[in-house]
Structure formats: structure tokens, C-alpha cells
């Protein structure tokens, strides 16, 4: 008896949330190219003074006072140590004599913009973080934690060698690739956690606004800056770290790093940011 009331309230809240949003009928056949255009147009309209490529600089593109603090930090960026560590790790051979360079096209240099990609053989999306651990395992090395400093350092170095290259995510003519894309999109817009937030609630509807003390980054270009040194963390974070902590913040239990949903989400978000430059590693508040 006691419990019915709050549950009803929660239900009512959900119903209300659903009912008051302008209903639109979503087409059931995904059209990634049209999605990407609509996505870019939305942000271009919302922030008419921000240049397209500047969205890769996140909240710093939207606030002058913050931008100045960032430019000052970039004079000698806090990710510098991670970058050096990544460079060193990348060059160091595995016990079997091979190295990361052997696992990647172009020896792993300047290729960040092509990740994630859909692997037809595996039938799934391969992110850069996953590819790095697959490389390690194929060479008899234990995988790194997806949320740890080593993975951040390696991806920082690989992003750095790819700076200013434009995201170039391909969706091959394969229904499974399209399904992964659609799955990522669904994850992006799905409300979750006790706060009933989706990724879009913060990063589409309210970028540039302050949520508590943070200025929310726009979803467009949000992965271009990864990995990031966050002052709040006092250290580096991978894409996996960012996604899992986003979930915790809205009181949703994070999935395991590199779960299908997260990889598909990365696929979707990177695809709709096609044409924007890699700016990582980045620094953020």
C-alpha cells in the first residue's frame, strides 16, 4: 500500500515525459547520411557563431572565459606526460619482438580518424581501445584496463599523430553494420538512470549550459578530443572511462567497458562527427 503511491508517481512522471515531447514518427529504415546532416545542422543552428571544426574543442568553443583558461593550459598541456608515456609504450616491442605498429595500418600513425570501424569478419564494431587490446592479446600480452592510464596514454599518442585529420567513419554495405549504427543511435537517445537522462539530454539539448559546475560539451565532435585530461579527475581518461562515468552521474549502473552498446555508441557518435578534425588528446575541466 505504501509503495504503490511512489511507483505510480514514477510512472506518471515517465508518462508525462513521453507525452509532452513533440511526437515525431521515426522512420524505421536508418539513413546515416541524413542523420549526420541533421545532426550537424542542429548544432550549426544552435551555435551560429561556432565554426564546424571548433566543435571538436567542446565547451571551450562556447565560452570565452573558459576558452582563455584552456588556451593558457594548452601552452603546456597537462596531458603532456601521458602523451610521452604513450609514445614510449607504443615504440617498445612486446616480448615476442613485435610491436603495436605491426597490428595497425600505416604502422599505427595518423589513423585515429578511422576508428571505430565495422569488422565484417568479426561482425562487430572495433574501437581503437579494443583494437589495442586485441593487438596485445594476439602478441601474448595481457590486456590493459579500458579505464586506466596505460590505455589513455596509448590512445593519446595515436590521437596526437592523427591531429587535424578528419573523422572518416565508414558504414559498409552490410546490414549488421547498419544495425550496429542504429543500436548506437538508440543508446544515445535512450533515457536511463534514476535521473531519466539520455546522452542527448545533456549533449544535444543543453550543451554550453552549466550542469552544476560543468559546462556541457556538444555531442558533435565530443569524441574528437579523446582521450582527455580532466582537472576534475586530476588525470587522464579514455573514452571508456568517460562513458562509464557519464552513466554513473545519471545514476545508471555502467555497462562493462567496451560492451556492445558502448562500441556501437562510439560508432554512431563518430560517424555523425565525420568531417570534424581529431583534436585529441584534449584537456577538459
Amino acid at each position: 500500500m505504501n509503495l504503490r503511491f511512489p511507483i505510480h508517481l514514477a510512472l506518471a512522471a515517465l508518462a508525462l515525459a513521453v507525452a509532452t515531447i513533440t511526437p515525431t514518427v521515426a522512420a524505421d529504415t536508418p539513413d546515416p547520411a541524413a542523420d549526420a546532416k541533421a545532426f550537424r545542422d542542429y548544432f550549426a543552428t544552435k551555435f551560429p557563431n561556432v565554426k564546424l571544426e571548433d566543435f571538436a574543442n567542446g565547451p571551450y568553443a562556447m565560452d570565452e572565459d573558459m576558452r582563455r583558461q584552456w588556451e593558457e593550459k594548452e601552452q603546456f598541456a597537462p596531458y603532456e606526460f601521458s602523451l610521452d608515456m604513450g609514445k614510449e609504450m607504443f615504440a617498445k616491442p612486446f616480448k615476442n619482438g613485435k610491436s603495436y605498429a605491426d597490428c595497425f595500418p600505416n604502422q599505427g600513425i595518423g589513423i585515429r580518424q578511422n576508428y571505430p570501424y565495422f569488422d565484417a569478419k568479426e561482425g562487430k564494431v572495433i574501437t581503437l581501445e579494443l583494437a589495442l587490446n586485441l593487438c596485445r592479446e594476439a602478441n601474448g600480452e595481457p590486456p590493459f584496463s579500458y579505464v586506466g592510464d596505460e590505455m589513455a596514454a596509448l590512445t593519446a599518442y595515436m590521437a596526437f599523430t592523427s591531429r587535424d585529420k578528419l573523422f572518416n567513419i565508414e558504414i559498409p554495405d552490410d546490414p549488421r553494420a547498419l544495425e550496429a549504427y542504429q543500436n548506437g543511435k538508440r543508446y544515445f537517445y535512450t533515457r536511463r538512470g534514476q535521473l531519466n537522462f539520455s546522452c542527448a539530454t545533456c549533449h544535444v539539448q543543453n550543451p554550453g549550459e552549466r550542469l552544476r559546475a560543468e559546462i556541457l560539451a556538444p555531442a558533435l565532435g565530443i569524441l574528437n578530443a579523446m582521450p582527455i585530461y580532466r582537472s576534475e579527475w586530476g588525470g587522464m581518461g579514455t573514452i571508456s572511462r568517460r562513458l562509464t562515468t557519464c552513466n554513473s552521474q545519471i545514476r545508471a549502473v555502467p555497462l562493462e567497458p567496451q560492451a556492445d552498446e558502448y562500441r556501437d555508441l562510439e560508432y554512431y557518435l563518430s560517424y555523425v562527427s565525420n568531417g570534424l578534425p581529431i583534436s585529441g588528446p584534449g584537456s577538459r575541466p
Binding site: D65, Q69, P78, R212, A213, E214, I215, S231
Partner: protein, 164 residues
């Protein structure tokens, strides 16, 4: 815009009036002839000054005198710190014979954050990054020609640099 309160000897508190008007008052009576404790020639770490809670006490221990606000001291700090853990703050001045520059934040557990000695031939201009526990005045002191000059600016902090 300078206010000095020389008769106000009974209090050890730092008195700040607005952003420009500033009166820094130390312990008891101050003799103008006190030699600065702090000079570029002396490289001893000023441990006691760093232990003081308030800005006035720290300045008193460091220099043995008070500062006057000067528009020749240019303090550059953000309006709102993006994160209190890393607040970029820099200072430059057109004053000559600068021997040291000190940075203080009035609301930190210990006010004094950093002191830089400027030997002859080094420019009176420093940029650094400081932690701020909460919204507070940032005070910069420039020691030039044996006198102290200051500039103050409030920096809003929404995420403190001292918490977890």
C-alpha cells in the same frame, strides 16, 4: 583608490575593500625601516609564511610591511574558474626594480600559494596554475624598489580544488 589604515593596529585580520581598494595590515606596529625578510639574494624557503592562514599574516611574515594597491600591477585571472584544481593566474607589471612576486588566495586553508624571486635581468612577469578551495580574492604582491604593490581580483570557483 589606495586605503591605508595605519591606526588600525589591534586586528590581525586582512581588510579588503572592493577589488581595487586594498589595505593589508599585519601584526601590531610596523616600522618602515624594516629590511625585507625576503629578497632574491636569500634563497631560504619561507616555511613560516606558507603556514599562515590569513593573507595579511603571510605577507607580514614574508615582507614585514603592507602593500598598496597599484594599477601598475596587472593581474590576469579568470572570472569563473573552470575547476578550482587548476586556475591559471598570471601577473606582469610596468614597475621597475622588481625583486619578488607573491600569489595569495584569501580563502584557501593557507593563503600564500607561491613566491617567485626575480633577480636582476629577469622580467617581472610570471604565469602559474593554482588550486582554489572556493570563490575568493586572488591577491598578488609585487616587491619593487623595497616597496610592496598589490592587485586583487575575485575568482569564482564552483568546483573547489581541495575536495575529492
Amino acid at each position: 583608490m589606495t586605503t591605508t589604515l595605519d591606526g588600525f593596529a589591534a586586528t590581525r585580520r586582512l581588510i579588503l575593500k572592493g577589488a581595487g581598494a586594498i589595505a593589508l595590515r599585519g601584526l601590531g606596529v610596523i616600522s618602515v625601516s624594516v629590511t625585507p625578510v625576503f629578497a632574491a639574494a636569500n634563497d631560504k624557503y619561507p616555511e613560516d609564511a606558507f603556514r599562515q592562514k590569513g593573507a595579511a599574516d603571510a605577507i607580514q611574515l614574508l615582507y614585514g610591511r603592507t602593500a598598496e594597491a597599484s594599477d601598475k600591477v596587472k593581474l590576469d585571472a579568470p572570472e569563473i574558474a573552470e575547476n578550482g584544481a587548476v586556475v591559471p593566474i598570471s601577473v606582469s607589471t610596468t614597475l621597475t626594480e622588481v625583486t619578488s612576486i607573491a600569489f595569495l588566495t584569501s580563502e584557501n586553508p593557507n593563503a600564500l600559494a607561491a613566491v617567485y624571486r626575480i633577480p636582476p635581468g629577469t622580467m617581472p612577469s610570471v604565469a602559474n596554475r593554482l588550486k582554489m578551495a572556493k570563490t575568493s580574492d586572488v591577491i598578488v604582491i609585487v616587491e619593487a624598489g623595497g616597496k610592496l604593490y598589490s592587485a586583487t581580483k575575485e575568482v569564482k570557483v564552483t568546483v573547489g580544488g581541495c575536495g575529492g
